[in-house]
Point group: C2
Chain length 290, copies 2
């Protein structure tokens, strides 16, 4: 099957205002593309009680505006899929997006993944790839017979923990999700706030607010939003956001970005404007490649 | 009256999508501001038969979208005035905008003036301030008793030519505007395409497509859009557009820019997004000044 692999012109990761605006502009330029969103869609937008500063709509709720945006991509028959991306690999002349068991391949990318409200733990960033992981499918097999902890803020993360519990010797879980009995039997729930990932050159443990500690060799973190520089390696950041130029190009050729993940202000109009620029930049990149 | 002069927080120059988006965001931040537009408003937008790539509105005409935008600023009771800015002066701690006989003063500016479709003439840029002028009120008195030419693409420009005809010895006019008999008596109409402003360190003449020439000491140019770096001195440009950073700040402190005048792509969503960023940057600038 590998030789029949479809390669899209573009994949847009994220379906907030930035990703959706990128999509309607990619459609205008006749790109062969797909947009990947998560459920619930853009919670920050949905929760806004009243929006007055997106030009063209006055006194509109976040829910209504979100409906207008989704109606727009539906009217244009845009290929929208609810799928969470675990990891993105640079294959030289194309990019592969890993989503559970499935892979999508494209010549260019627009990262419109927003920002995470959840803070990074001290010690976490330093130990990425040395015990800290954001992808159970990718890194789970490394922890066969070992002890790991999962910090879980998503439902998909809960499923990943079930998967890990079949591989690892012991699994601790810290979560704000509901767990069913089936899972509870397989893991040890810790109802304390973690404050630090410990270890020098590899993960050795997880420390909690009460100064207690558990010894683990792996820490899997599942936040609603994976920081884009952790989704894909080799992307330069600046002040905790993806570094982009005025064409919304990141430091990696063929990879564009838009919306909150590129920096302040975190606003709908800014995000939509950047999504438009990113799509037109991607279109011009694809045209040159052909 | 001078000591009672009102100083606005902000003046937004231009009422296309960039200026209007800046206005709705300046309103959201409670700035004391005014937005200056021209008639007809944003012809490029009005003439678009069908727009599909401004997120939230699908299959809408430029006229309808323009109405939505204006409806938005009306609903928010924004101070919108149809006034053309002739010149902007940097007064150190504030900016003065000259409009005919009237002056408005503000602590910060957003330039959202779009781009001109009309080409600059060879020789024009080199001789700005040395005989080439964009403002009859400002520079007219320098040409008392002299011979000048006016290149006129606006109705206000026609009025400026009438004013000049009372000062100068002789006035030539090249125009695509209708002229009434009253003016025709005072000026000499030239029905040929100008191709170059001539002169070494000062204007000496105007050359036409048929290689004919007239001797003049001043050339007044009235285009629909005055390039922003000619509206105000000291603004850095890059590839024929205003140079801005990602906060939409120009090279001059307190002056922000948005929309087509900052560069490609010339698109509504990009312009609106930049207008939003510019307004929020201006708000934060004003807050620091207070």
């Amino acid at each position: 099957m590998a030789n029949q692999e479809k390669v899209y012109d573009l994949v847009i990761v994220g379906a907030g205002p930035a990703g959706l605006s990128a999509a309607v502009n990619a459609a205008a330029r006749n790109l062969d593309f797909v947009i990947l969103g998560s459920d619930p869609r853009s919670p920050k937008l949905l929760q806004a009680p009243e929006i007055n500063n997106y030009l063209g709509y006055v006194n509109i709720s976040g829910k209504e505006l979100s409906d207008k945006f989704f109606n727009h991509i539906q009217k244009l028959d845009i290929d929208y899929r609810e799928q969470r991306v675990d990891n993105i690999y640079d294959q030289g002349d194309r990019f592969s997006l890993l989503m559970g068991d499935e892979t999508i391949t494209a010549h260019s990318l627009i990262l419109a993944v927003g920002v995470s409200n959840e803070q990074t733990l001290p010690g976490e960033e330093e130990l990425v790839g040395q015990g800290v992981s954001y992808c159970a499918t990718c890194d789970g097999p490394l922890y066969r017979g070992k002890t790991v902890a999962g910090l879980v803020h998503t439902d998909e993360g809960v499923e990943d923990i079930i998967y890990l519990s079949d591989i690892a010797e012991q699994v601790y879980i810290v979560t704000d999700r509901e767990l069913d009995d089936n899972i509870v039997k397989k893991v040890e729930i810790i109802d304390k706030e973690p404050v630090r990932v410990t270890g020098e050159n590899k993960v050795e443990g997880l420390k909690f607010e009460d100064d207690s500690m558990i010894e683990v060799e792996g820490v899997f973190v599942f936040r609603r939003v994976t920081p884009p520089d952790k989704l894909m390696s080799g992307l330069e950041t600046e002040d905790d956001h993806l570094k982009v130029n005025r064409s919304m190009a990141t430091s990696k050729e063929g990879v564009f970005a838009a919306g909150d993940c590129t920096g302040f202000p975190y606003q709908i109009g800014k995000a939509a404007g950047e999504g438009q620029i990113a799509a037109l930049s991607a279109a011009s990149y694809i045209q040159k490649k052909r």
